[in-house]
Symmetry: D2
Subunit: 114 residues, 4 copies
């Protein structure tokens, strides 16, 4: 009995697609395309903002954004499922690679340009 | 002490950005734009495939896809954090809305086409 | 003998794909996916900018942006070609629709709601 | 008096934005974000298709696609205008670079894998 959110969502999206006979459409490629559409719907909320800080968003926009974030996560979970990717393990590993690629500067001075 | 993957990643990305003084760049708008770039890097692996089923992906592509899925999750977690969105709760709620919008067919027979 | 830029580019991209036997990959769907990848490469140049006004871009970025704009146009021309869409006619028509949807000059007369 | 489609559209979009006092929103960054949203609306028409060849599209979808292609062109023209990019010249130059990067194979035999 799992209480891990990502596993719970994986199982729920599997059942949801199966009940609607949608697996035939859910190739990784099509799901990646659907993911990009959801991300654009998220971006649409921000496109004309001056700077895009959180305080520029009104309540209706925040609720819209929340739903798009949910859609992004749901498609992400489904692509990972189709390709047997453990999302959490992949993310932890990617953060390790990022830490090597972008070492934290120990000094607080601005990076010299020359 | 949390063992929830999404909370763990939220805390890890917070620390990562703080150590590099990157919070100044991380408006929700900029993070949404960065998310859309990562999703495109994911899509790029699929763009010329015939149908895009999982078996069309070779091992190198699968590893590339895995890293892009990780990047997508990491940006998603950061946007949600900036906007105080509980990603798991939002996804569960969205699935309930989706179930109302797309009711599962109650009969198990294939949908007749005519 | 055409001097219309869009027709010239259409003919040039047709020849380019034919010489490389790439037509087999160039379904409208795949080209749309490739277009979205190029647009993301364009967006990448802007993602961490404070406001994104033109003066924030240095010369190297401007040259990169120029090349991505070219890529976007080239894929756009190819999708339109596959679907027999006259891009210019479609754009002129869309501007007419936009003018109805977003009427100009709020001062002359209030927009009638019915 | 220009009959070049891209110049005509540039002038038309300039006037359209000026009449609505929209220039303040039209930073290159915001226009790039809007472009990515339009491209996603284009992609949405293709996302669940089996292979995405032109014959899979019904008439309503074709009309929707035509309008999205127009939107993509209109935003592309506006970004190029803000950054003083000659889209046609940039595309011709990019095709020359692409020809160097991907030389046309003169022989018709399949590329050996090893």
């Amino acid at each position: 009995m799992s209480t891990d959110p990502l596993t719970t969502l994986r199982d729920a999206t599997r059942a949801f697609a199966a009940e609607r006979d949608w697996e035939q459409y859910h190739t990784p490629k099509n799901l990646a395309m659907a993911l990009s559409v959801e991300v654009a719907e998220l971006a649409e909320h921000f496109q004309w903002l001056q700077t895009g800080v959180a305080s520029e968003l009104d309540d209706a926009t925040r609720e819209g954004v929340r739903q798009e974030l949910a859609d992004v996560l749901l498609y992400l979970v489904q692509i990972a499922d189709k390709l047997d990717v453990d999302l959490y393990a992949a993310a932890v590993e990617k953060m390790r690679l990022n830490a090597l690629k972008y070492p934290a500067s120990r000094e607080t001075e601005p990076t010299p340009k020359a």
